[in-house]
Assembly symmetry: C2
Homo-oligomer: 197 residues x 2
């Protein structure tokens, strides 16, 4: 038998069901947990329970939050006339980490993907349009993928008539990368988006 | 702010406290959990709680188990005159996976390490000596490390007077590896342990 305990088997299965975690790592994590004291396991399992019961969506920007509106939407220090539109909640974290953006967000929760049957009604697009009163700029920070492009074109079509400035984040060579190893699409976008110095 | 929710921060911290999981993966796992339904989270947190409450040590071989003695020690199909001594419970799994060993185990729970202050009293060595009645062979399957060697020498010194056959698992080139890339120590052990064909 591989495991002398069903509980161990179950825990390995749970860890292995998480993304990026294979069975070998799942096993290693389970053995690690077995070596910890009870309070550690309790803290772990409590944090999972709290995660699910405390975290909901902000009814304004649809980011994860424990309070509604979320701390970003509620903040008086943030410029409410600019909204940065992203696909997923973790994109908000990625932008917040730069420490250089001080306005609002809107989380679409996905991108348009006709092949997978994901249409505008499946994303928080109507919710975005509803909150554009007084907004001066929409920054589209969608992924540089086919789905991101399609979603961007759809949003531009919807927002254009409202006379709001629409921008998109730049595509080009990532900092620290090497021109030699960049793919053709990235290089041609970088040339297309060149700026005068 | 990086996280708009304290519960998310806590879950990310918990995942990041596990071995081999960095903050970026911890964040990804947390966002994955948020997208799952309640029953998934419940199952996850239950499996952790069960792990801690159900899993204990077998009082015979000191492997993890839910029943005492463990299923391996209790099995009537296993040869009780051979004991394979390993350092950690996951070493048992590694050997069980081969499907070619049908005798008993004994888990030491570590190896001798004078520098870290780990002496014979910290390992399940006395417990091994106590169960040697009727045993004909002890297979030492410790790690090929300095600590494994030291532990092996100590065990040999302890068991030798009892007139029991003592063997050690072979050290040499791993299957599928390349002689060219093997280190000197491995190659010299492989030559030392050569067998006639």
């Amino acid at each position: 038998m591989l495991y002398t305990s069903e509980s161990m088997e179950k825990t390995v299965d749970m860890f292995a069901s998480l993304p990026t975690i294979g069975r070998k790592t799942a096993q290693r994590l389970t053995f690690f947990l077995l070596r910890q004291d009870e309070s550690y396991i309790d803290k772990f399992s409590e944090s999972l329970q709290e995660l699910k019961s405390n975290v909901k969506f902000c009814s304004n920007c649809y980011n994860y939050t424990e309070t509604d509106p979320c701390p970003i939407c509620a903040s008086k220090k943030r410029n409410t006339s600019i909204i940065c539109v992203v696909e997923e909640p973790n994109d908000v974290n990625a932008i917040e980490k730069t420490g250089e953006y001080f306005s609002q967000y809107h989380v679409l929760h996905g991108s348009l993907n006709p092949l997978d049957g994901i249409g505008p009604g499946d994303l928080k697009i109507a919710e975005l349009i509803q909150r554009l009163d007084g907004v001066e700029e929409i920054i589209l920070a969608l992924n540089p993928s086919v789905e991101g492009e399609v979603t961007m074109q759809y949003l531009v079509k919807m927002i254009r008539p409202l006379d709001i400035k629409i921008t998109r984040i730049a595509r080009g060579l990532p900092i620290g990368s090497d021109l030699e190893f960049a793919d053709e699409a990235t290089i041609s976008r970088a040339i297309e988006g060149r700026i005068e110095i």
